[in-house]
Subunit: 168 residues, 2 copies
């Protein structure tokens, strides 16, 4: 795997919206990893990813957008000290370390914003590459949701809740 050392991560701007949608829509249409309706409209997909409670970043290399992630409080009120993130890497950019770079950036951002933990609420168990990446980064599977995901080709499969503490 070739690392791309020239990836920079910066906040999303409105000028990125077309490039953002070109990453989001194939993933949502495939319906294999996100619990988003596969026939979601472009407007709704954009509204979902850039909802007011989310801070959105993009990974850029040589002027091209290669990935995006958001960070948000996972709950309001008494649960607002735990954050949640979602990540998508552009199909053409896989294998270049974009996902790991976004993960590292999101953990730094979470700590800087004072979060005490990061939680992924719904990780499709078949998404083994993501599960392994997150486990290597210190996330643990703290919950298993039986047959909670209807995979387009594999049928009903489990989903995981994953969690990483950000305090010592």
């Amino acid at each position: 795997m070739v690392q791309d050392t020239h990836i920079t991560i910066r906040p999303l701007t409105p000028a990125d919206h077309a490039a953002l949608l070109s990453m989001l829509l194939p993933v949502f249409r495939a319906g294999e990893t996100y619990t988003v309706a596969p026939d979601i409209s472009a407007d709704a997909a954009l509204a979902f990813w850039t909802a007011p409670e989310k801070t959105v970043f993009v990974a850029e290399s040589g002027g091209a957008i290669m990935g995006t992630y958001y960070i948000r409080p996972n709950q309001a009120g008494g649960g607002a000290h735990i954050c949640n993130c979602g990540y998508i890497t552009a199909e053409a950019a896989t294998g270049r370390g974009v996902a790991r770079k976004m993960l590292a950036h999101s953990l730094e951002t979470a700590r800087a914003q004072g979060y005490r933990g990061m939680q992924y609420n719904f990780v499709v168990s078949e998404n083994t590459r993501a599960v392994e990446t997150w486990q290597k980064a210190g996330f643990e599977i703290v919950g298993r949701l039986p047959q909670a995901f209807n995979h387009p080709t594999k049928g009903l499969v489990d989903a995981f809740v994953m969690f990483k503490s950000l305090v010592d």
Copy 2:
């Protein structure tokens, strides 16, 4: 515990909004069970409980509203076959079987709507009465979120993910 056999459960109507708020706000203000900002406005509380994806019911006895619950798909897309519910019993109506009646009604509704399971995403571990009620009804703790809730008097406590299958 005296059972009230005259409780009826019916869909929420706009005429119930004032009574609904009189149940929601004390619970949200207390900040002990729901991950809602304790200083949420009445309008925002109403919008939260009656969001478009939710179907809302009220428990009524002798013309008085004694409880409310909502049911919604817990996720969109591939997760839409699992539902989620939230319940609130009026303070003055506790100990009359309202909560259990709403629980039974919600499970019937879920089955009638074709859901394959019911999930509670964030059950504060200190809410022992609710945890026990749900365990008796067949829910299992399928996840534990470490110190994910900041309780107003007990500090950081765990939260549970609870799940019940609705298929044989």
